[in-house]
């Protein structure tokens, strides 16, 4: 029995993709976009208040912070790693922005970027040069960053308010063409990220590292250096998102960001990025983020449903996507796994 399956898998691989695999591949890459479109269409018909400018603006603003965090996570996951610390770093970024703004808006934005980038770099150094598992390293910094946050806010009791008229606060609250600045920033970052991933040697080498570290090393790619910058970038983006979120709410709230890393990971994976690394798109992540946020919005629109269905749905989605991924990679790599 097994021998027969093995054989067909090899033949399929030799002759290219079977129809089933092709469909599964499409579901993985474009599934989130299709589901997103379907939900948007259905909701537009079902709820009068869904397809309004206000609601769209609302969803976009809600999505922008998670999207910025998920962008960094996308690169890390594509390289075959994971960054569990982003939730804590996000919260820390917000608090640092609120702390730094008393010395001016520039300090308010630079302080979180420097500290959060530093934490990311520490993650990267431990993973790339210390050769520790990304999962456990970023678990440690998850705790460490949360500790740092508590330390600078009198154990979380101190919520700093940011002056309304400061430039940084304006960056969070102001709008351009009716759309908030954080949304614009997220859009620009995603555009840059997409170009970086798909059209630069940097992005190409990230895909290679995630696809096969050993091959990347043998091909002479600077694996350790790249890895370190990926985690640094993830920390930077999480800090930036935190600072913008703080500016948006004009205060450095200490209780945000718990479990935020899970939302980011879920968005990345739902967006079709392989959790095992080596393949993924920035656009998919954006679709994943929007999907999560639209589902949340729709559940709110229905009103009678508990808002907690959102995580049930994303968990189910995650399991389905991951199962499809496993199916795909088994169909292709069956014989390598066999031995």
């Amino acid at each position: 029995m097994t021998a027969v399956t093995e054989k067909t898998a090899v033949v399929a691989a030799d002759k290219g993709m079977t129809k089933r695999e092709w469909i599964a591949g499409l579901v993985q890459r474009r599934g989130s976009l299709v589901v997103l479109a379907l939900i948007v269409i259905v909701s537009t018909v079902a709820f009068d208040s869904f397809a309004t400018v206000d609601n769209a603006r609302n969803i976009a603003m809600q999505s922008s912070f998670l999207a910025i965090v998920a962008l960094g996570m996308t690169f890390v996951i594509i390289s075959g790693g994971i960054d569990l610390s982003v939730g804590s770093v996000y919260a820390l970024g917000g608090v640092l922005a609120a702390l730094g703004i008393q010395w001016g808006s520039l300090t308010g934005i630079l302080l979180p970027l420097v500290v959060c980038g530093g934490i990311g770099m520490l993650n990267g150094a431990l993973v790339a040069y210390g050769r520790l598992a990304p999962f456990i390293v970023t678990l440690a910094t998850l705790l460490g960053a949360r500790g740092l946050l508590l330390a600078i806010t009198d154990e979380g009791s101190n919520t700093r308010v940011m002056p309304r008229d400061a430039l940084l606060t304006q960056l969070g609250q102001g709008t351009l063409l009716g759309v908030g600045y954080p949304v614009w920033i997220a859009v620009v970052l995603f555009a840059v990220g997409a170009v970086m991933l798909q059209r630069t040697r940097f992005g190409h080498s990230v895909l290679a590292i995630g696809g096969s570290v050993e091959a990347a090393r043998l091909m002479g790619l600077p694996v350790a250096r790249r890895t370190m910058w990926l985690y640094t970038g993830s920390g930077l983006l999480a800090g930036l998102a935190g600072a913008l979120a703080a500016a948006y709410s004009a205060s450095g709230v200490t209780i945000v960001g718990v479990g935020f890393e899970l939302d980011a990971i879920a968005a990345v994976v739902i967006g079709g990025t392989l959790l095992t690394g080596g393949a993924g798109t920035v656009g998919g992540t954006l679709a994943g983020v929007l999907l999560l946020m639209v589902i949340q919005n729709v559940i709110n629109q229905i009103g009678t449903l508990s808002s907690h269905y959102q995580s049930v749905v994303s968990g189910a989605f995650l399991a389905a996507v991951v199962a499809i991924q496993a199916y795909l990679s088994r169909a292709h790599l069956g014989r390598e796994r066999g031995t």
């Binding site: 696809g211 043998l218 002479g220 393949a279 292709h332 066999g338």
Partner: protein, 508 residues
């Protein structure tokens, strides 16, 4: 000659804790030449390649590249200098496209510094087509067959304008047609003036493509010269360190297959074992009390044969029967239930559990029969462990000692004990004495003899030919996944075995 050599290694030595891997090895690669590097297991080929490509730093000796001395501290240095290597385990990224794999790290860019995919795909298609490989270069590599992937790896090496291309067993997963294509590529690379170092065990291929040959044995260079001047028999004799004249005198008789004695039911009969690229219809028959050796050079399919019998290598076709009863293929558990157990070749990665005790390692495979209600019976376990530790003379401070702390020989005995706990009918031994000291080796060999005398059927693989010849009642000789000869009775001699390996009984 030396002056114009692209790569010249002089007196290379490399030691690892406890082993001298290379000693005083010279290798000269002139431009436009395909140089064969041959040697049996442990001869030092892969160590030498790793020294040439900057993976290892040599302990002694000098490396000069295009006339000036060099020292590569990492693979990247060697690569940038122009030494490309195609490893046996293909070093490409399966999820990325063919074109990306060809150009990774030196992708063409447009004037904005962004990757120019159109230029890259065109160049990739052109390059592969010039080698006679027609494939959609935008397809992910993993959707292509092993042959195409190997071509891409070679093309990548060739296209990087390498001065030296090192190919490590490049044909091990190729179809004959693909081998032809590969050789065309190699010929082009040679015509462009690069030096090629070609590592392979397929003698036919060596003679087709290589100009010169270096033979390594036990970390030393034993021969260097034009390949044409050596007969196959001479080459094999050099690799194995055997006396040529003696082989010629005694070994050139014809291999008429001795009439199979059908007196006793075979305890093991494997028929037509076939597994893609690796085995092509292998038959092995073992009678109770018989030790059947598998002869062959590295890569001939010996390990694959025993793994197919033991159920750990999936087979495409073929059947295994034990004492007349068919065994479900592809399942280790089914083979074990039928009474077939295998000692794996790689003791470390497939055998011992170094952090567990001797006792736990021995009883691992026999746990169900030593347990009652899911609890391991301490008494029965201790009894069986005690028996085997005495019988196999396992030297450990106590059954509680961790296996990782034992010597190689004692680890091997622990694994044997694990197999014998299952009270097997057939014992498959893949390199049972590799890497263990002389005393332990003799003990293991004697034990195998004893077990056979008690009626077990044994299949024995060893890269040491004396061991196979001395230990076996008959020898099945394999070459490139096919049985090429069967030696019985008086024909079981080293000379005949070597002659069969080289010429394969009228096979070419």
């Amino acid at each position: 000659m030396t002056a114009e050599a692209v790569l010249d290694a002089r007196g290379i030595g490399k030691r690892f804790p406890g082993v001298v891997a290379l000693s005083e090895v010279d290798l000269t690669l002139p431009p436009g030449e395909v140089h064969a590097l041959v040697g049996e297991n442990g001869a030092g080929k892969s160590t030498l390649i790793k020294v040439l490509t900057g993976v290892y730093a040599p302990d002694s000796g000098e490396l000069s590249y295009r006339g000036s001395p060099v020292r590569f501290s990492r693979p990247l240095d060697a690569q940038e200098a122009g030494i490309s290597t195609v490893y046996q385990e293909i070093n490409l990224v399966p999820l990325m496209s063919v074109a990306s794999n060809l150009f990774l790290g030196r992708e063409p860019r447009n004037r904005f510094g962004l990757l120019d995919f159109r230029a890259m795909n065109t160049a990739a298609a052109k390059l592969l087509e010039s080698y006679g490989v027609h494939v959609d270069v935008t397809r992910p590599l993993r959707t292509l067959g092993a042959g195409v992937r190997q071509m891409v790896a070679v093309a990548r090496a060739a296209a990087s304008h390498a001065r030296v291309v090192i190919l490590d067993e490049p044909t091990s997963s190729l179809e004959p047609r693909e081998v032809d294509t590969l050789f065309e590529i190699i010929n082009r690379v040679r015509a462009e003036g690069a030096a090629v170092l070609y590592v392979s065990h397929r003698l036919d291929e060596l003679y087709r493509i290589c100009d010169t040959v270096t033979v390594l044995r036990d970390g030393r260079k034993v021969h260097n010269g034009p390949l044409k001047e050596l007969s196959r028999l001479q080459l094999v004799a050099l690799m194995l360190g055997r006396d040529l004249e003696q082989i010629q005198r005694e070994g050139t008789t014809k291999f008429d297959s001795a009439p199979a004695e059908a007196l006793e039911t075979p305890v093991l009969a494997a028929r037509g074992l076939t597994s893609q690229h690796r085995l092509h219809g292998v038959d092995v028959t073992v009678r109770p009390g018989e030790i059947v050796g598998l002869g062959g050079l590295l890569g001939a399919g010996r390990s694959e044969t025993v793994r197919a019998i033991a159920g750990s290598l999936p087979v495409d076709s073929g059947a295994v029967t034990v004492a007349g009863k068919p065994v479900r293929s592809g399942s280790v558990a089914a083979a074990m239930r039928a009474g077939v157990v295998m000692l794996p070749e790689d003791r470390k990665s497939d055998g011992v559990l170094p952090d567990l005790s001797v006792r736990e390692n021995i009883v691992l495979a026999a746990l169900p029969r030593l347990s009652a209600g899911g609890l391991v019976s301490r008494r029965r376990q201790d009894a069986i462990v005690d028996t085997f530790m005495k019988r196999l003379r396992i030297k450990a401070s106590s059954p509680d000692q961790k296996v990782g702390e034992l010597s190689g020989g004692n680890q091997q005995k622990v694994l044997l004990a694990r197999l014998l706990c299952r009270e097997p009918k057939v014992l498959l031994l893949d390199e049972p004495t590799r890497g263990i000291d002389v005393g332990a080796k003799a003990e293991v060999q004697a034990l195998v003899g004893e077990l056979a005398a008690e009626g077990l059927g044994v299949v024995l693989i060893s890269s040491e030919f004396e061991e196979v010849v001395e230990g076996s009642d008959s020898i099945v000789v394999l070459r490139e996944g096919r049985v090429v000869a069967e030696l019985r009775g008086a024909d079981v001699t080293e000379q005949k075995l070597i002659a069969a390996l080289a010429d394969g009984g009228g096979h070419g």
